[in-house]
Symmetry: C2
Subunit: 326 residues, 2 copies
């Protein structure tokens, strides 16, 4: 597993360096508070997954220009803006092992810096003068806001359906991955079939990524993510492992699970008991299967391209998504 991670990191080292440089360059001219808050969220161990996907997909489309790194920042900015606002919304304590931005600089600074990053993303998109790119970026931001709102509305609702969960993660996560992969084809002026293939790859990767992320909340690796143990549950967010297990459990065990979920101050013992139920009623296994199926679909989408080192890298990234610990 570590071999896979190391192989990927080795292959993308130069790309990551370029993305970091573009991020630093782009943040420079801004006022102190924006720079400070934005740096805190942008330079605290993010994996640069979204800009990296954009750069690699542009390479798949034989993109020759030098705008890909600058442009890829959009997807990190949109991601960071969402994290800043989500942490305010969820009253989260920690993010990537550090205190959440709003705890250090206040909710006001976190909200406004998020607004700035959102606005900046759209300004970078507008620089391309490409209507389809601009429309894609504006659709992503709209979907992300709607996904977050949908999630907020269903907060704490024990009857959240699998279909609703899928719609929420599609909008709040998969659409951004999909957009990052799709616009690389637009920026490279690639054929429509390539755009569709990369778009499909990004969508399925994003769905699997969020499911894997949601599973991490119920493993012993929460610390590796720098998250509070059981954070999703404490925030009233029902995710697939829980939704599936609740539906599969008999009425007696369902009531026991509901009691733990509804109790805002559940103990570590309660949480361990819940994890046992999630395994017993197949919630963990089902989520793993669904994530695997999406990864398989992502691989199939990218298999339409001729073999190349970049294609293999995208395949590796898909595989690694299922295995990551943080």
């Amino acid at each position: 597993m570590n071999d896979l991670k190391n192989r990927i990191l080795e292959m993308v080292r130069d790309d990551l360096t370029g993305i970091e440089a573009a991020l630093i360059e782009n943040l420079k001219p801004n006022v102190e508070l924006v720079s400070t808050v934005a740096r805190h969220i942008l330079f605290s161990g993010g994996k640069r997954m979204r800009p990296l996907l954009m750069v690699l997909c542009a390479r798949m489309c034989h993109y020759q220009g030098d705008y890909d790194k600058t442009f890829s920042i959009i997807f990190e900015y949109l991601h960071a803006a969402t994290l800043l606002h989500d942490d305010v919304v969820d009253e989260a304590l920690m993010r990537r092992g550090k205190p959440a931005a709003h705890h250090l600089w206040g909710g006001a600074a976190a909200v406004l810096t998020g607004d700035f990053l959102l606005a900046r993303s759209l300004a970078i998109a507008a620089e391309t003068h490409n209507i389809r790119i601009i429309q894609t970026i504006s659709e992503i931001t709209e979907n992300m806001a709607q996904g977050e709102i949908h999630q907020l509305m269903r907060k704490g609702d024990l009857h959240l359906s699998e279909a609703e969960y899928l719609e929420v993660i599609r909008r709040k996560t998969a659409v951004l991955f999909q957009g990052a992969c799709r616009v690389s084809a637009l920026i490279a002026d690639a054929p429509a079939s390539w755009e569709t293939a990369l778009s499909d790859y990004g969508y399925h990767l994003g769905m699997a990524f969020q499911m894997a992320d949601d599973l991490l909340d119920y493993t012993d690796d929460s610390l590796a993510l720098g998250k509070t143990v059981g954070a999703d549950l404490r925030e009233g967010k029902l995710t697939l492992p829980v939704i599936y297990a609740l539906n599969a459990a008999g009425s007696e065990d369902r009531l026991r699970m509901e009691a733990i979920i509804s109790n805002e101050t559940f103990s570590t013992q309660d949480f361990q008991a819940l994890i046992t139920y999630l395994h017993r009623y197949g919630g963990v296994a089902y989520t793993q299967q669904q994530a695997s199926a999406h990864i398989q679909a992502a691989r199939t989408a990218i298999a339409r391209f001729e073999p190349s080192p970049t294609r293999e890298l995208l395949m590796d990234i898909a595989d690694y998504t299922l295995q990551r610990k943080g």
Copy 2:
């Protein structure tokens, strides 16, 4: 004064009806929470100043299409998004005589609905397929975020300069007025000289509007605005009447004023004393003069057009900006 207001309202009645219809139409397809929160902020006595300016300026440019009302919504959405986020940022209690949205539905819903309205604005802009319009809208959002952040950074700072104040109100208010007037020329494909004239009109009108708004905090008409008396001061916002008076006062009175301003729980008596200082040291008169000068500049800009009922209406709106009580 009421004559002027009534004359304006009579002239724009059909336009306002069209703008209201477009707003209602555009909000329809959204989820319940977004609609509820957005309706609260959008349909609580807003004057529709920004969309109205866009529609009237488009008429100045002989715009013949039927997209002006739909497009004008952008400026009301951007305004509403800012109000939602600002009220969270400022921990404001009231807005237009009603409880602020975050008090009714929580900060989370207010932040996310603001994000949605921001995203929706950009989606409507993208529908025009006009790069200059899209760039103008993206520049407006960037400036507004930066203006708000600048204001936040200087919160409670007794040494805020007039130049900094002007820069803040330019970004957070005037740029939006300016943009609403400018894009009407772009949507009508009008000559560059018309675009400049309308842009200048909007800029000066916006500067005067904000100065007049800041003055209202120090008059007896706060109740008409549905604001808390002395709200700006309680939020640590120094505006032109205070900045000017602080600089004009002798050191003894300056200290007295600073004591009131720095005291977060100042009494009504303290506040009345401060208003007396603002008059004594010319803060009120100076702000009125500066606002008047901007209105004069707005009138001069629009005077470049041939006389017409719409031009007279824009002149009337400029004059009314100085006189409004809410």
